[in-house]
């Protein structure tokens, strides 16, 4: 894999930009896709948001200062894109965020790209009951296995607060699954 610093330099130079962008997409598309998919749940929406994320990255790479890691910066863009996608979707449908979450879970049952059984469906229902931040933290830690330090860079939250959020999220999910 190409070194991150070199990749950023190539992305910022007009001559090497398009080749470097292809490398960037190849390197990060899967990780960003799964991160987005766990927020928006549906494949078509995740595909849309993933494309928009890379377009935003391409257009803003000139202003990337390297204060944070390229990976964290892209993750942050993907998170913001996914969350604002859901916000505008609920606005367009004239329903609350909670109602949208319910719709998303109900649609999951008929989704051809959701192969989960009752246990996995219940897990998604449990995750849907969490506040936004806890939802993100749980998915990033449990499924994406990101380190707290990385998550702190992405979400701009202290490691202590992230640990507290994860602890609360796991407790709530376990309680939900036990009661079900």
């Amino acid at each position: 894999m190409i070194a991150e610093k070199t990749l950023v330099e190539e992305l910022q130079s007009k001559e090497t930009q398009s080749r470097a962008f292809e490398v960037l997409v190849d390197t990060y598309k899967q990780r960003l896709y799964w991160h987005i998919r766990r927020i928006v749940l549906n494949h078509d929406d995740a595909d849309d948001v993933l494309q928009n994320t890379f377009i935003k990255v391409y257009k803003n790479i000139g202003g990337f200062k390297g204060d944070s890691k390229l990976f964290s910066w892209m993750y942050r863009i993907a998170t913001n894109e996914a969350l604002s996608f859901l916000k505008s979707k609920s606005k367009k449908l004239g329903i609350s965020d909670g109602e949208l979450q319910d719709n998303m879970i109900n649609n999951l049952q008929a989704d051809v790209y959701f192969e989960g059984d009752d246990i996995q469906l219940n897990l998604q229902k449990a995750i849907a009951t969490l506040p936004e931040k806890q939802k993100l933290v749980f998915n990033m830690k449990y499924f994406e296995e990101l380190k707290y330090e990385k998550m702190s860079e992405i979400l701009g939250t202290s490691v202590g607060a992230l640990k507290a959020s994860y602890h609360l999220a796991v407790k709530k999910i376990e309680e939900y699954l036990k009661d079900d």
């Binding site: 766990r38 494949h43 996995q120 449990y142």
Partner: protein, 174 residues
């Protein structure tokens, strides 16, 4: 191992003790999924076959499309916009100069603004969760009260509302 086992008839599967440490360490490791049997390890999401192979092309097409230049039909609109922008900058500069005398600091923020912020912002924690996270021994009752209570007012209140005021025996505790 045979020495410890010589007086009983129980047996263990072959290699049980050899792999025990490894399995135990696996459960104690930082891997969050390792010590949770209730939450499934897989989330059940799938992608269409060949999706990741084709997504690069889709992104490049969308990028080229969004970079296509739009031909402007009424270029004179640009001048109106430029004039409006200059007017806005002048107005803003005037307003900022007018109010820039006070430097922004935490102490300058009105309490009502702070209260509104906490009321209207989704912090991701409920009141109960915050209570769990904030150590109680660092809090005083006075942190929760809006105004200071005079001892005299407290005594008046108790006098009016308690049936047997004398039974409180306040004198001795003063």
């Amino acid at each position: 191992m045979n020495k410890d086992n010589q007086n009983n008839d129980f047996k263990t599967p072959e290699g049980y003790f050899e792999s025990f440490t490894e399995r135990l360490m696996g459960r104690l490791s930082d891997n969050p999924s390792a010590h949770n049997d209730l939450i499934p390890k897989k989330d059940g999401f799938e992608v269409p076959e060949g999706y990741f192979e084709g997504v690069n092309q889709k992104i490049l097409e969308k990028l080229n499309y969004s970079e296509t230049k739009v031909v402007q039909l009424k270029p004179f609109k640009k001048y109106y916009m430029a004039a409006a922008a200059v007017a806005a900058i002048v107005t803003l500069a005037f307003i900022f100069n007018w109010s820039a005398s006070k430097e922004l600091s935490f102490d300058n923020i009105a309490d009502s603004d702070l209260e509104n912020y906490f009321e209207n912002t989704d912090l991701g924690f409920s009141t109960y969760e915050l209570a769990e996270l904030i150590p109680v021994d660092e809090l005083e009752y006075s942190d929760m009260l809006e105004g200071h209570l005079d001892q005299e007012n407290v005594l008046d209140y108790l006098n009016d509302n308690i049936d047997d005021f004398e039974a409180l025996n306040l004198e001795n505790n003063e």
